[in-house]
């Protein structure tokens, strides 16, 4: 541990949890609103509250706390090995809105839509 600055850890475990649609980081809505997503700063969720709703979803499945992404097989399998340590979800069930996908493209940030959609 300690290799990277960990993301914020969710302060609750209930329904207010949301997951980033790009990197699948899980935090509460308020956390996203206050400090955005540690992996996806370009979404600038902390600057635009409405972005939080667009970039995150409460429709996700499973939770994984990754203490050491670089050395975790699970993180590698889930392709979050390069993300900061933190709580992630196994899968989100929504795709990023198209305009934000374009934003990713502009920023040259890879985006993988969820497989089911």
């Amino acid at each position: 541990m300690g290799s990277q600055q960990a993301a914020q850890i969710p302060t609750s475990f209930g329904h207010e949890l949301r997951a980033c649609l790009r990197c699948r980081l899980v935090k509460t809505y308020d956390q996203f609103r206050e400090s955005g997503c540690e992996n996806c700063p370009f979404f600038k969720m902390d600057e635009d509250y409405e972005r939080v709703g667009d970039c995150t979803t409460s429709n996700f499945t499973g939770l994984i706390s990754v203490m050491d992404p670089t050395r975790s097989w699970a993180a590698r399998w889930l392709r979050i090995a390069r993300s900061v340590p933190g709580c992630y979800t196994l899968a989100v069930s929504e795709a990023l809105p198209e305009d934000l996908q374009n934003l990713c493209q502009d920023e040259r940030i890879p985006y993988n839509p969820p497989k089911r959609i």
């Binding site: 939770l63 203490m67 097989w73 390069r82 040259r108």
Partner: protein, 1038 residues
């Protein structure tokens, strides 16, 4: 490639952070190694980039992927090592073909830079490099630990290559290996899974690297357990120490093979969006179709709209605080809410504005809009997978005021439910959306979501690529198609019209119009019946629905039945689900027609009034004063007509009321005696008191005790298991003529069961001769064996009662079959089972009064048989397919023509006895002759039960035969009465003579015996025929 490079550059910023981190980590040997390796692999990439830049020849996709992989994090380190190693030269030289094969690349690197972790010897050398590269590395570790750490790193190095951009194939490369950390399953408090995972995360942050677990997984669908990823079990235990809600007494290792399953939850993620069709899983609406109106992921709830199933009366009672009926015996049928109706019932309706801005009618907490119920339920209580709304359901859903957009929505749902490979090359399709709408074409090629079609318009030469969402299968009227999914799955039929994506087709079996989605149909020449049964209910069963209604199943869909309800005024068809059916009505009811004739199932009736006036057909079901008539000319409702019994008139006389025509006086008495409301079923009349109480002779009583003549099975006593026919009833004892033993026994009435299966087992042909001698036997008619027992009593007295004026009755009874017969549709006789057991035909046969008509009429049928006895063979021959084709020149009075075609199946079972039996009353034994033919081997029975073999030389005019005794017929010639003659049953490969049927007289060879059928090779034609063994006699000169 330029884009690629741009990307790399753009990604530098986050990488830099990472790099810093790495440098911090360098104090740790292991991390440093890690970093070193990253640097190495980064360099590798760099090199390949370099090659790309310079040569620009191997610019393939694979490389792109690789490069992208490295854009993520390794890139930051790539420049440094490259500079430091100063091994550009080597890299350049060696890297020509390296990027294609990772393995190869590794090896190569081993050679150049990286000592190859699996060879410890080289490690020193590599370390030297490292010392040069990382000057601040001053921590020496013993070789062993180093080796271990290198191995660890190496094990991962191959994986780290891949990152977020990997395709599915590359995902396989991420499969866990033995070197990866393991997953351990640990128990935790139910409902605390996420909490535990988050707490462990917090703990890990607080403790820093102390906590050696790598990750914690909490699955939504697995309660009470979490997975912890760590190298060692001890690490797991350490991490769990002091944690609330974790019960780490037992830590179980997850096998490597199952590790991926733990994390594979993608398939469970369901996309619930507005307008998705779902089905309710529980409660009143279980199984009902619903449409998603709103989704609340945070609370895991959805609002759906449904067609309400609300019993307004019950609701009103409840709201007014009146006593609520506790029993929930039935679920109200789905019906749109009618607010006005509710108001009329003094149910309080509030009109409220919902948060969403829409107005809803609120009744007792339930929200309604446009007749629909809007219900918010937990996501768990709806099923979203494979929801295939049936056409009817969608139609219903669309009903009130929801026009085109609803249609569109349903269409899109339908399309999204399409399976892969929905379109195939050669399918005819039509574009239903977009600019090319209504363009027809042929599928040329199918890609993922794109279908290439060749337009059928001449001017358009090229194939067009169209999204499969915009396409719909296209059929033309006249196509013969098969329904491959949906409620009518399996049905086939012909397309009669096409409305957009809806195809109307006429089913092959029911001749009904089916409306199905074009998507669910494929062209096919197949003809199938589709589904005929769900659970215990089958097509044409009479079922009871709820307390009031009942009906006949006239169609079976995959999830529901169509039931023609027992409402006589108008045909009412209800769509019911399996659970809405309370039970099947097996009972064969009786009733009276308008003229107080007894009606029983299978009687042919005519409807005198009502919407179906003039229709006629056999009664299929009788229940509560309603008859269901099957009229095959009636194309609606699968041919079923529902009518009041009082609106019908019996045609041709009822079996169950044998006296009616035969003895009108007794019939009237019977009616007087019998309360008109009580249908006179056999058992009931029995319970009503033995007929003997009328003081008549046993013969007279027969007409009234339905049991007489019935086929029964003896349940108890010494004759247990025997089947027979009731001959007589005296008090509580019954005289039964046993089928198998040709004798009449007396058994207790309670020892018989009268619902025996009517197929009579095959009997030895040798019995036939004997049978005719039994005085009681003649009462059997050949057709009886396959009749239902209750019908028999009517028939029985006819024989015995030859003295009663038979003629009038006989002709009456003949009429229905004759009518149909003369339509020149003999095939329908054979094919429509309704007619087969129908009584009139047998009576038609009996119709000729003894003596006069008898000898003349039947003979007309068979030109080759100049005597009436030929009927015997005709009977026996009933299953022969040739017979029905001969009626052409029949005099209209020939009764036999009427029944022969209708008697396949049951008849062959007892043909011989039948043939003999029915002769007996007529002319006694002396009419037996024509059954025999010259040259056949027979056994002649002498007075003292001895039998002598002989050969028939000649059949005399009176029916007697001249038989030459001895197996070759060379002995004395005697004249024998046919009753004393028994045909010798041929064995396999015997020469035989055919005794009946169109080939009567022909000889042949018996080449095989199959049960009661003999396989015969006919000498003249060399045809192989399957004939009843009864028709075959052994030829003397064989």
């Amino acid at each position: 490639m330029p884009r690629q490079r741009d990307y790399d550059d753009g990604d530098v910023e986050p990488e830099e952070e990472e790099e810093d981190v790495y440098e911090e980590e360098d104090v740790y040997e292991e991390e440093e190694e890690e970093d070193d390796h990253r640097g190495k692999s980064g360099r590798k990439r760099r090199r390949s980039d370099f090659i790309d830049d310079v040569a620009e020849e191997d610019d393939d996709e694979e490389e792109d992927d690789d490069d992208e992989d490295y854009g993520g994090g390794g890139g930051g380190g790539r420049r440094r090592p490259k500079r430091r190693t100063g091994s550009e030269f080597f890299d350049l030289e060696a890297a020509v073909d390296s990027d294609e094969d990772e393995e190869e690349e590794e090896g190569e690197d081993d050679f150049i830079v990286d000592g190859g972790a699996e060879i410890p010897d080289e490690d020193g050398a590599r370390r030297e490099y490292r010392h040069r590269m990382l000057p601040h590395d001053d921590q020496e570790e013993d070789l062993e630990e180093l080796t271990r750490s290198i191995q660890q790193r190496y094990a991962r190095s191959a994986h780290v290559e891949y990152d977020e951009e990997a395709t599915d194939v590359e995902q396989q490369a991420l499969l866990p290996s033995v070197r990866d950390p393991k997953l351990w399953i640990v128990k935790c408090g139910i409902g605390h899974e996420r909490e535990v995972a988050v707490c462990l995360m917090q703990k890990a942050i607080d403790r820093g690297s102390e906590l050696q677990i790598r990750s914690v997984v909490a699955l939504d669908h697995l309660q009470g357990y979490i997975y912890i990823e760590a190298d060692k079990e001890a690490h797991v235990r350490e991490a769990c120490k002091g944690m609330r809600s974790i019960y780490a007494q037992k830590v179980t290792l997850v096998p490597i093979k199952e590790m991926t399953d733990v994390l594979s939850v993608e398939s469970k993620a369901v996309d619930l969006t507005r307008d998705t069709w779902v089905r309710m899983k529980t409660g009143t609406y279980k199984g009902d179709l619903a449409k998603v109106v709103d989704v609340y992921y945070d609370t895991q709830r959805v609002t759906v709209k449904l067609i309400p199933r609300i019993d307004l009366q019950a609701l009103s009672n409840k709201l007014e605080g009146r006593e609520v009926q506790k029993k929930k015996a039935f679920i109200p049928p789905p019906r749109f809410m009618n607010i006005d109706e509710a108001r009329e019932m003094n149910i309080r309706v509030e009109r409220k504005r919902h948060q969403s801005g829409d107005y809803f009618e609120n009744i007792g907490g339930m929200l309604f809009k446009d007749g629909f119920l809007y219900k918010t339920v937990a996501m768990k209580s709806i099923s979203t997978m494979n929801v295939q709304p049936s056409f009817d359901e969608l139609e219903k859903f669309r009903q009130p005021g929801e026009g085109g957009d609803g249609d569109m929505a349903s269409l899109s749902t339908l399309f999204s439910n399409r399976k892969k490979g929905h379109f195939m090359k050669g399918d005819r399709v039509i574009v239903v959306k977009g600019d090319l709408k209504n363009l027809k074409g042929c599928v040329e090629k199918v890609e993922e979501n794109t279908v290439h079609i060749r337009p059928s318009v001449k001017e358009l030469q090229d194939t067009l690529a169209v999204s499969d969402k915009e396409l719909c299968k296209y059929f033309e009227p006249g196509n013969h198609v098969k329904v491959i999914s949906g409620s009518s799955e399996g049905a086939t039929g012909m397309v009669v019209s096409v409305e957009g994506h809806v195809v109307n087709l006429v089913s092959d079996t029911t001749k009904e119009l089916l409306r199905v989605f074009a998507d669910n149909v494929v062209e096919s020449s197949e003809v199938t019946s589709g589904l005929t049964r769900i659970g215990e209910y089958e097509l044409h069963d009479l079922v009871i629905l709820d307390n009031k209604s009942f009906g006949v199943i006239i169609r079976v869909d995959s999830e529901a039945f169509q039931v023609l309800k027992g409402v006589p005024d108008r045909p009412e068809v209800a769509l019911v689900r399996l659970r809405e059916i309370k039970g099947k009505i097996e009972k064969k009811g009786n009733a009276q027609d308008r003229f107080k004739n007894q009606l029983a199932v299978k009687d042919v009736v005519k409807v005198l009034e009502g919407p179906c006036k003039g229709k006629q057909g056999p009664v299929e079901h009788i229940f509560r004063g309603i008859v269901f008539i099957y009229d095959r000319h009636h194309l609606e409702h699968a041919g079923y007509i529902c009518a009041k019994t009082q609106s019908c008139v019996l045609i041709g006389g009822s079996r169950a009321n044998g006296d009616r025509n035969g003895n009108p006086f007794s019939s009237r008495f019977a009616n007087l005696r019998t309360p008109p409301r009580a249908p006179q079923s056999p058992t009931r009349s029995f319970r009503g008191g033995p007929p003997m109480s009328y003081g008549r002779g046993h013969r007279g009583g027969r007409g009234h005790d339905a049991l007489i003549g019935a086929d029964v099975k003896i349940r108890l006593g010494p004759f247990k298991g025997c089947k027979g026919r009731v001959k007589d009833i005296k008090g509580t004892s019954v005289r039964v003529e046993l089928e198998a033993q040709m004798k009449v026994v007396t058994v207790d009435r309670n020892h018989i069961a009268d619902n025996v299966n009517v197929t009579t087992p095959f009997r030895e042909p040798s019995r036939y001769g004997l049978g005719s001698e039994t005085p009681s036997h003649p009462s059997r008619t050949p057709l009886h064996p396959f009749m239902t027992p209750m019908r028999d009593p009517g028939a029985t007295p006819i024989h015995d009662g030859m003295r009663t004026p038979m003629r009038d009755r006989a002709w009456n009874s003949m009429s229905p079959p004759r009518d149909n017969w003369e339509e020149g549709n003999p095939a329908s006789w054979g094919s429509s089972p309704q007619y087969q057991p129908s009584s009139p035909r047998s009576r038609a046969y009996e119709a000729p009064t003894p003596g006069s008509g008898w000898t003349n009429t039947p003979s007309g049928n068979y030109s080759d048989a100049g005597t009436p006895r030929d009927n015997g063979s005709a009977y026996a021959n009933a299953p022969s397919p040739y017979l029905p084709s001969t009626p052409g020149g029949q005099p209209p009075m020939t009764p036999s023509s009427a029944y022969i075609p209708g008697t396949p199946g049951g008849q062959p079972m007892t043909p011989g006895s039948g043939g003999l039996d029915m002769m007996s009353p007529v002319g006694g034994g002396d009419t037996e002759g024509p059954w025999l033919l010259p040259d056949i081997l027979v056994n002649v029975r002498k007075s003292n039960d001895d039998t002598v073999t002989g050969v028939v030389h000649d059949v005399l005019a009176d029916g007697s035969c001249s038989v030459g005794l001895g197996s070759s017929g060379n002995g004395d010639t005697i004249i024998v009465h046919p009753t004393e003659i028994e045909i010798v049953v041929p064995k396999k490969s015997d020469k035989i003579k055919i005794m009946g049927g169109p080939q009567r007289g022909a000889t042949g060879k018996l080449i095989g015996v199959d049960g009661t059928d003999g396989i015969v090779k006919v000498d003249d034609t060399l045809d192989v025929k399957i004939l009843d063994m009864v028709l075959l006699a052994k030829l003397a000169h064989a």
